[in-house]
Symmetry: C2
Subunit: 190 residues, 2 copies
């Protein structure tokens, strides 16, 4: 997605060889027009998939996911992140390890909001090691919903997340694919 | 806002005499069309105020705030919530006590995203005891930005938040005002 690549080039801050900070338009300060354009793009990319619901994880997934859900005319559900977990029959839960923070969080979805047989699109802001998406897949399995695909805002192709999802045969669409960071610059894939 | 009141009557769950659960359309599962309508309504209510930026708190504020920002054609910033705080010169912070959870969280905004003199609209999902809004006001003061008003999705008029903001002379607009819960039913104000 050209608009997003331009925004990353212009406003993204590369830190070292692995980290891209996009907190000025995606995950702290938010550019609403860009979020709307991304939502429309995801809806277009997964058109004809008869999607019933969009699932994401708080907080950075919410803005892209809500515009995707609007364009698809379906509800959106965001999984809650918690450091500690009160076990309950009312929720689906999964563990998500963050490599950046070196800590495990739990993600939680109320069972009322996923119904067996529903067709679900997963949305997330970053695909790096794939932990957040794997957590959502675990919840989807527990809820017996069908995952029609995964929409990612920014994929880092040099980390293992994409390979994990490809191996599972999951349809992944990323709006920007980053192959490397060189001398503080973003090198896009393709 | 009629549409929101109908949604609350239809899908809200009253628990006891103080709690309204709206996790099926506002703060866990989200109705994107309703969020868009609310964003347009807030933009209309604060029209002509020359707003530079919308500020909210993660996570439930994000969806209404991003649609408000879209309608106003300005950026949105969401404050991060943290249980513990690493002191840093890079951030504005405030303490927010949650009466529901009986715990104090910190809210954090990167200094790069609030510039002295900017005109800011605050958005939040609930106004009850006013703690979250007071936290945002504290950050606004520290950043020397002007708060043009506060947009609230659901106000509980029987708790003290509204009185606190009225005393400060702040322009508050709530899309739904709840006067009481009686026998599991929502009684709207006015």
């Amino acid at each position: 997605m050209k608009l997003l690549e331009e925004k990353i080039r212009q406003d993204g801050r590369v830190i070292g060889t692995e980290v891209l900070k996009v907190d000025n338009f995606l995950n702290h300060q938010i550019d609403p027009k860009l979020m709307q354009a991304m939502g429309n793009e995801f809806a277009q990319l997964f058109k004809g998939q008869q999607i019933d619901k969009v699932l994401t994880v708080e907080s950075s997934g919410i803005a892209p996911a809500v515009f995707t859900a609007l364009a698809l005319d379906v509800p959106m559900v965001f999984a809650r992140k918690k450091k500690s977990l009160t076990l309950s029959d009312e929720n689906y839960t999964a563990d998500v390890f963050s490599f950046t923070k070196q800590e495990t969080n739990h993600i939680i979805v109320d069972k009322r909001f996923l119904t067996a047989g529903e067709r679900i699109l997963l949305i997330d802001d970053f695909l790096a090691n794939g932990q957040a998406v794997e957590g959502m897949l675990e919840i989807a399995r527990a809820a017996s919903v069908d995952v029609v695909g995964v929409g990612i805002v920014i994929e880092k192709t040099f980390q293992k997340g994409r390979a994990i999802l490809d191996e599972k045969g999951i349809h992944v669409e990323s709006l920007a694919r980053i192959a490397a960071f060189e001398d503080g610059q973003v090198i896009f894939a393709d």
